[in-house]
Amino acid sequence: MNAPARDMRGSAAGPVLSARDLHTWFELRQWGFLRVGSVRAVDGVNFDLQAGESVAFVGESGCGKSSLARTLLGLHQPTRGEVVFEGRPLGMLNSAERKAYLARVGFVQQDPYGALPPFMDVRRILHEPLIVHGVRNRAEREQRAQEALEEVRLSPAADFLSKFPHMLSGGQQQRVVIARALILRPKLIIADEPVSMLDASVRVEILQLLRSIQREHGLTLAFITHDLSTVRHFAERIFVMYAGRIVEQAEVNELLNHPQHPYTQALLAAISDPDPDNARHQREVPPGEPPSLLKPPDGCRFHPRCNRMIAGTCDRQDPPDFEPRTGHMTACWLYR
């Protein structure tokens, strides 16, 4: 149904990570056994991530972007479809291979304080993944922990190794989280809203850090965010998600300058840049709220809120991906 996105920079090797018709549904049970339906958090997602690119999955809360991240990490089992890492579907891996996969994928979470065990010092936090992956030599672990801290610009590393998370500022905590994600030398980093819990003044710093590490090591960076205004600076491609699906994807500037899907257009229109004139007028906001993922609407999931809805089409049939502009895909019947 959805054609996989083409890599726009034409890398010779295959994609690092792909999603093929990926579905992650959560069964909802009443009294522990009665099935009352499924929450379709991820509902038919396809994409390819190329080596060394930085992409952003953008959407509102409840659009399934965090469930997508966790499915990619193997924390949720896909209900249907598969995640393919370097050509091998995750579902086919045995447990040792799965563990090896986890070492190739780093995870940066939203809440840096929550992501660090409060009873471990930074040293222990950074040693843990290495211990789990069988690095027995303590000196080697220490060496790698120091390197990782230098990498995230926490220097001198020795000062931070013996600190506990609560002794660090939010920004420093998030750097430790990033250092932990890097310590196993991954190929891909998945960052779930890495800065939304941080102070505005630190956000840019952390995003720049992630970006520079990504460039330096040629990592693939998939970051999940609700904040379109920062995306331009830290990602090359954007996937816009709505109600468990990707509704639009394009290169950053293309998407920001020429949004095609009515939902993307609404999102962009709702974002304010600091301007005193904002206070003078009301913003255009589509009515209603995102649909329940338990019973998503038929057809295009945005159609109940869409002011350009084509009756008889949008409310009946799922829109496939169209390509109204070169390299710019959108799942909207307007571009039929």
């Binding site: 995870f107 929550g114 992501a115 932990r180």
Partner: protein, 443 residues
């Protein structure tokens, strides 16, 4: 583990915690001292009772009680022939001996008993001993003659003939000032029991120990079997602490691990654990222990095992589960899964350490409850048959109607020690609770 250490360092700010800690340390110190000075085997031997205690009074109260009351009741006096100026007159085929056993008696009460322990090293013919009691005012009473065996106890107190002659029990009559009317009064001064002996073998020897049993003894007094209660009170400390600590550690650790495993795996594992817990919670612990004690064994180790076994699926599981559930969902656990940490590692290294600081106060306050449980079992007669414990002391006191006879110290001292133990752990535990449970902390 730093938060733990930081918390412990903050104890200094809570005087109650320091007092509690001081009590606990004092108890531990005494326990160590006890175990070193009275080794386990010796303690069991002592507590078995018998001849070891023959020179101790029966049901004597603690000396300090008497001191406070200002009664000046007698302590036990032992006069040995080894210290006596013995005069010997040998003759052919034997010798004549005169052994004067002298002692000063100036107490505000009569002794509780009077015994003479004779030893004789004769080969075939027993010697003959004649006893004469000399009072400070110069009266002399003939206490009759004996032909002692190699070891002989002369129970002067139970000499019915003498009692009839004196008109009073001998240990009162022999010490009373002359006069028939009214209650007897103690005649102070130097008393002497003279042994005039004839041996019929030249190298035979005679030894004698006169025991004037007091009415007070030591710091703890004695019981109906002449045993010094101090032995049980002291040995009760290590037993109680060990029982409490092992039971608390055993139940807490297993409960915690099981609860964490249930929370982590969820599904049927959790369901089984929960149902087991619910069944176990309604099982009454004490009757089960009584049953085990009656039908199987009252050994303290068996009881300990049963207590731990019953304590594993206790209400604690529910509590830990409630604490661990949100932790299971916490991002750092998710991060650990994302870098490939296994189930055991997540349970033991990530979930349990998170709630340990909160559990420490509960753990500390749990210890005395097991101490009390052990004492209750002993009081019910299910105490360990050989170990001296506080519960056993109270059990003896109860069966001997101690309170009816006014031997209140017999009940009070073990009870006070139990309370002190409870108090120490409670004070420390509550202070720790304030340190580790920030919700209770006032800013």
């Amino acid at each position: 583990m730093r938060p733990l250490l930081e918390g412990l360092r903050r104890i200094g700010r809570y005087p109650s915690a320091l007092v509690g800690l001081a009590i606990i340390l004092a108890l531990v110190g005494t326990a160590v001292f006890t175990v070193v000075t009275i080794p386990y085997g010796q303690a069991l031997e002592l507590w078995r009772g018998g001849e070891t205690w023959r020179m101790h009074p029966v049901n004597a109260r603690p000396a300090w009680v008497d001191r406070i009351a200002g009664n000046n009741l007698p302590q036990t006096i032992i006069v040995s022939s080894d210290d006596a100026p013995i005069t010997e007159e040998p003759f052919v085929g034997g010798k004549r001996l005169r052994i004067p056993l002298e002692f000063d008696f100036d107490y505000g009460g009569f002794p509780s008993e009077l015994n003479l322990f004779l030893t004789s090293s004769h080969a075939e013919r027993e010697p003959f001993v004649r006893l004469t009691w000399e009072t400070p005012d110069g009266r002399q009473l003939n206490l009759g003659g004996r032909r002692p065996a190699r070891e002989e106890r002369v129970s002067i107190s139970q000499d019915w003939e003498l009692e009839r002659r004196l008109g009073r029990v001998p240990h009162v009559g022999l010490f009373a000032a002359p006069g028939d009317d009214g209650p007897p009064e103690v005649l102070d001064g130097r008393y002497r029991l003279v042994l005039d002996a004839i041996t019929f073998e030249e190298d035979a020897r005679i030894g004698a120990d006169l025991v004037v049993y007091g009415r007070v003894h030591g710091l703890a007094g004695t019981d109906h079997q002449r045993r010094d209660l101090m032995v049980a009170l002291l040995w009760g400390i290590p037993v109680a602490l060990a029982f409490g600590l092992i039971a608390a550690v055993g139940t807490t650790v297993t409960t915690l691990v099981i609860a964490a495993a249930g929370v982590w795996y969820g599904g049927w594992v959790d369901a089984v654990i929960q149902r087991l817990t619910e069944v176990n919670i309604i099982l009454p612990m004490l009757p089960i222990l009584v049953m085990v004690g009656t039908l199987y064994s009252t050994s303290i180790w068996v009881m300990l095992g049963v207590v731990i076994a019953l304590g594993i699926f206790s209400a604690g599981i529910k509590m830990y589960r409630a604490m661990l559930l949100p932790i299971r969902e916490s991002p750092y656990i998710e991060a650990a899964r994302a870098y490939g940490a296994g189930n055991a590692r997540i349970i033991l290294r990530y979930m349990i350490p998170r709630i340990l600081p909160v559990l420490i106060p509960t753990f500390v306050t749990l210890i005395p409850t097991f101490v009390f449980l052990e004492a209750s079992l002993a009081l019910l007669g299910l105490g360990d048959p050989v170990l001296p414990t506080w519960g056993k002391v109270m059990n003896d006191a109860q069966t001997q109607s101690a309170l009816y006879h006014g031997f209140y110290y017999w009940v009070l001292s073990p009870a006070a020690l139990l309370m002190l133990t409870g108090l120490g752990f409670a004070m420390l535990g509550f202070a720790l609770d304030r340190i580790f449970n920030p919700r209770l902390r006032t800013m």
